[in-house]
Symmetry: C2
Subunit: 396 residues, 2 copies
């Protein structure tokens, strides 16, 4: 039996500000939220999952615009949430501060890097939580913890006051316990979301080929419930082409943003992040320019494919969450496969919503919708309709 | 008579790396470029126009992806260029390191914040130069120094290794001595640019109303030469609505990115930047969320107006560059008016190209083209065709 206090301790950071709100009324009045500890709240530290940052970086001078919008809408901030170290991770493991509990699958990792945000929402500690998503950091924990989550169109929500990890991919997103709340939060950023819009659903059959057969089977009823849809091939260039485009760009961005800080002698750095940094510093610079050019071609193709009304349907992750005690090798292998799914929206700077539509071996399984540039609101409206249709208005 | 060495000293920073290239061949082989000293080159300091940064920040751990693309295409980097302090400025004035010379109007400011980049290109010290553009920092110096310049679609070129000033507006752009070189550089980032694309030219008559009558008159022949075009109103919501949306968002982003650093006691900070910081810290937080929401509505309207083929035509700046000895009050008044023109692409995250189409009282005057999201390549192609038609293939 899960103890609520244990989950809270695993998900909410010790240096959180006391719960507060700045307005009593507003469209989000009565709702509570948490904030990934990569995002600034004035007067609190932003540890980014690293003890040196907690010790050295002082108090944030300002509240990030992404948070101000929520406070301005009357929501109550209940605390800040744990993250993979400097947001580098897909699983939520953090050797410095511990791994948040996955309330829906306690033997399994919660997913990351917005791990504490997902854990807190899935346990009902708050109605929604802000996260960030570079290569899947909102989408994967949403899928693993069985809740709703959105990665927004790149650049649409200001990343001021958010630690930069890989700026050409970094986005702000959120996780929510219901499709309705996911949408309500979206309305505070984007304005009123219409009840219904024209949609052209595109099932990416080759993305389902990336997933484990049991995942495909688990998602089948939800995919059928979508109704009229067209089958498409997402990876016309091959899966490896997409991965080989994402990796050098993300690694080089990482080297530019955190390389100097990470190289300070004596820096407290987990093995995983230290290894990624070494990889970033050893990668030949020649890999970067052609990858940037490939990214443009991939984006152009996807934007044209989506047009004004297209929505691509893919599994959020390729498998159920790994066990908490999984080996580093197992995690690396898992990461590569799920990254093939998550890198698509990251590379093309597109919005993506994950819905907790199924379960498999007792674990939640997410289904994802990818929209064109600035289609965030349309995805949120579609997610609410699908959730109603599937009887999952609230996360199961 | 202008001394080339004086211009060089005023434009290129003393801590520049020695000229270098990483490849002898490539599409930009034989071309030289400079890099705004806000952008990292591995092994060199990035002073960002501030002496404390030069002293304290050490050497960049990595070369920014934006620079790698140019080096990978065979261009030769000849140095780094002066900037307004922490890129906060429209005029190129920098009390710490001096104000770069405007080679086309030596009694006038060069425009900023990519001031040294514009000065170096206009003086023929290099073929092109990287800059950054948040609220006009490539476009204004391009206009003032009589050269070509592009602000790219927000988020399209990685800002990793580029000092963050206002991340929801910050972009990488470049300045060039000819429309052909402006386009060639674009091809290294975006891929081959077709010779001709369908275009629907939209003359923003109310944007011309913002400019001084003598500027409108100077631009008239070039506007007529555009041929078939439709008149539109750009500021349907009123000019102040646009400015009141830009200001709080930019100020609050600035507070989030540089507020802590700027608040360190004893910080060397010019009066101008210090004043802006005070303004940022004194602004009520309540101004931010509604401005973010207004920005979304403005963007939606403009993106719809532009569609797949629209190009909006506006003056780049509202007047000729102010004299070097202009008072701070005069500069503030100037800034507000030109900002009404530059804030449009900044708010809507759109690409904009400035062409040196005219002169007025001996000073260069730029005409601007604004395209839809990711229309960078189309703008560069159109700029080349217009330049040919107007006989300004190279900056006059």
């Amino acid at each position: 039996m899960l103890d609520r206090q244990d989950i809270r301790k695993s998900a909410i950071v010790g240096h959180s500000p006391a719960p507060f709100r700045l307005r009593d009324d507003g469209p989000l009045a009565g709702l509570s939220f948490a904030v990934k500890d990569l995002i600034d709240i004035e007067g609190s530290p932003t540890a980014c999952g690293n003890p040196d940052r907690l010790r050295d970086d002082g108090l944030a001078p300002s509240t990030a615009p992404a948070v101000l919008t929520l406070l301005g809408a009357g929501a109550t901030c209940v605390g800040k949430t744990h993250t993979d170290e400097v947001a580098c991770g897909m699983f939520g493991t953090n050797p410095h501060f511990g791994t948040p509990i996955n309330p829906k699958a306690p033997d399994r990792v919660p997913g990351g890097s917005s791990s504490g945000s997902a854990s807190a929402v899935a346990a009902g500690l708050c109605d929604f939580a802000l996260g960030t998503d570079t290569g899947g950091s909102v989408r994967v924990p949403a899928s693993f913890c069985g809740i709703f989550g959105i990665r927004t169109t790149h650049g649409r929500i200001s990343t001021a006051g958010v630690m930069a990890m890989a700026p050409s991919f970094d986005t702000v997103g959120w996780l929510a316990s219901s499709a309705e709340i996911l949408l309500q939060v979206g309305e505070t950023y984007f304005g009123p979301i219409p009840d219904r819009a024209a949609e052209r659903l595109l099932i990416a059959t080759d993305a389902f080929d990336v997933a484990a057969p049991k995942i495909v089977q688990a998602l089948q009823p939800a995919v059928r419930a979508l109704g009229r849809a067209e089958d498409i091939r997402l990876y016309a260039e091959g899966v490896d082409h997409w991965l080989d485009t994402f990796r050098p760009l993300q690694l080089h961005d990482l080297r530019s943003t955190l390389g100097q800080w990470a190289s300070v002698p004596g820096r407290a750095l987990s093995q995983g992040v230290s290894d990624r940094m070494k990889l970033a510093f050893s990668m030949p610079w020649q890999n970067v320019p052609p990858a940037a050019l490939r990214r443009e071609a991939l984006t152009d193709r996807l934007v044209a494919l989506l047009g004004d009304d297209g929505v691509i349907v893919i599994p959020t992750a390729h498998n159920i969450p790994p066990p908490r005690e999984a080996s580093l090798d197992d995690l690396v292998e898992f990461r590569e496969k799920t990254l093939a799914l998550t890198c698509v929206a990251s590379l093309a700077r597109l919005p993506q919503v994950s819905l907790p539509v199924a379960s498999c071996e007792g674990c939640p399984v997410g289904l994802s919708l990818i929209g064109g540039p600035r289609a965030d609101a349309r995805l949120l409206g579609l997610a609410r309709r699908l959730a109603k249709q599937l009887g999952i208005e609230s996360a199961p």
